[in-house]
């Protein structure tokens, strides 16, 4: 609606999805969590299931806009707008989300890494509606660590300058089984930094050289200069937030054992 400020009278047709109940549900099965595209950020922030199973999503949803905006803005809206700075996008990617696109021709699932094709561009075809987000349910008894941080120019109601969302799966002996380090606002789309993921794979968490991990991220992101930050700033901060995340993981891991 912000895009149509003082131009509402120019819109010829409106489609209000608010009354479609199926799009508003959150459900959990043995293997999956399914979130309807019309679920609001407020709902994601407060829903105990989301908080427990998808902490990156609930924490990032809590920092979108303001309470007023979170009450109305939907996660589907955040996804489909596909802003490189969309706060829930790197988290969804880190939690390995798939987006369900439905049309009169049927349904298909699109992996998060494939969904965002450019700044404010997504892989939906004309006639397709985003109906659900599907995420793997984290397995009980398996260690998983998550780190989310949003950097913005003021402390609230702010479009992010840099976001980081990392999900680590750790084996019992402290070996990193899978790392999904994802970043927002530092590239044309939210990104999973493959080189850092590979670097972290199979390493012992307590031995990891976080500076090196940070350097890999700084090299691979492709930020721009804009009103929210310079390219240089975004590289430096994504590097340092990676280091901060790894330090945090180490502390959490050592705290537990």
């Amino acid at each position: 609606m912000v895009d149509y400020f003082e131009e509402l009278h120019k819109v010829e047709h409106w489609l209000d999805l608010n009354s479609i109940d199926e799009l508003r549900s959150i459900s959990v099965s043995g293997e999956e969590v399914r979130i309807g595209s019309m679920v609001t950020h407020s709902e994601l922030e407060t829903n105990p299931t989301i908080k427990e199973l998808l902490p990156l999503l609930s924490q990032s949803a809590a920092e979108v806009g303001s309470w007023q905006i979170r009450s109305r803005a939907t996660v589907g809206g955040n996804v489909v707008t596909a802003s490189p700075a969309g706060d829930t996008l790197a988290p969804l990617m880190a939690h390995d989300a798939r987006f369900v696109a439905a049309s009169t021709e049927g349904r298909r699932e699109i992996k998060a890494e494939d969904f965002f094709t450019g700044p404010k561009q997504n892989a939906l075809r004309p006639g397709e509606l985003l109906t659900e987000i599907v995420l793997p349910r984290p397995q009980a008894g398996k260690s998983r660590l998550c780190y989310w941080e949003k950097v913005g120019k003021r402390n609230a109601v702010i479009i992010s300058s840099v976001t980081i969302a990392v999900e680590l799966k750790i084996s019992e002996d402290g070996k990193i089984e899978k790392a999904r380090p994802c970043y927002g606002a530092v590239a044309p789309t939210p990104v999973l930094i493959q080189s850092a993921a590979e670097f972290l794979q199979d390493k012992n968490l307590i031995d990891v050289d976080e500076s090196q991990a940070g350097e890999l991220v700084a090299e691979e992101v492709s930020p721009i200069d804009d009103i929210r930050g310079t390219e240089e700033y975004r590289r430096q901060v994504s590097r340092d937030l990676t280091i901060r995340a790894l330090r945090y993981f180490r502390r959490e891991w050592e705290g537990d054992s």
């Binding site: 912000v2 400020f5 509402l8 303001s66 309470w67 007023q68």
Partner: protein
């Protein structure tokens, strides 16, 4: 199109068009001018009303979307000459300067106190982050909400 909704405990049926915002419906069609417009883009919180138990910026809600909803605006708080504890607290604590942010600010605060009986200062600050005030620096607004919380949880009606 005709829509029906409850506003300030009263059921109303009005004609609404999609190019009309809830804010315009409230101010122009219903004559409730307590809710103000500060930016029109959901960035300042001045137009906040409570809709179905949540604070929303009414400039970003299309009028037809209010169909079937329960809406509350600032006009609903005072009972005759008696002010709501929040309103009283804002007056007593010096939290009102130009007053333009106040109706929206009070509505958000009201919803906060509905959900949490004794939020601490940090929590109040966080809840009100979507309501910009340019005059007060927020200190006395937070004092007022704390004060109201005490009044409301202390004394039973």
């Amino acid at each position: 199109m005709e829509i029906t909704f409850t506003i300030n405990d009263e059921e109303r049926t009005v004609d609404a068009t999609p190019d009309q915002r809830l804010l315009d419906l409230i101010r122009e069609d219903l004559g409730l001018t307590g809710t103000k417009e500060g930016c029109g883009k959901g960035e300042c919180g001045v137009c906040t009303v409570i809709m179905d138990g949540e604070p929303v910026t009414s400039c970003l809600v299309l009028a037809p979307q209010a169909d079937g909803a329960e809406i509350e605006t600032i006009e609903n708080l005072a009972e005759g000459d008696d002010l709501h504890p929040l309103q009283e607290s804002f007056v007593e604590n010096g939290a009102v300067q130009c007053g333009f942010c106040i109706p929206g600010m009070i509505m958000t605060a009201k919803q906060l106190l509905q959900e949490e009986r004794n939020p601490d200062r940090d929590r109040i600050r966080q809840a009100l982050a979507g309501n910009i005030c340019r005059c007060t620096g927020y200190d006395k607004i937070i004092d007022a909400v704390e004060d109201a919380a005490q009044k409301m949880s202390g004394g039973e009606a």
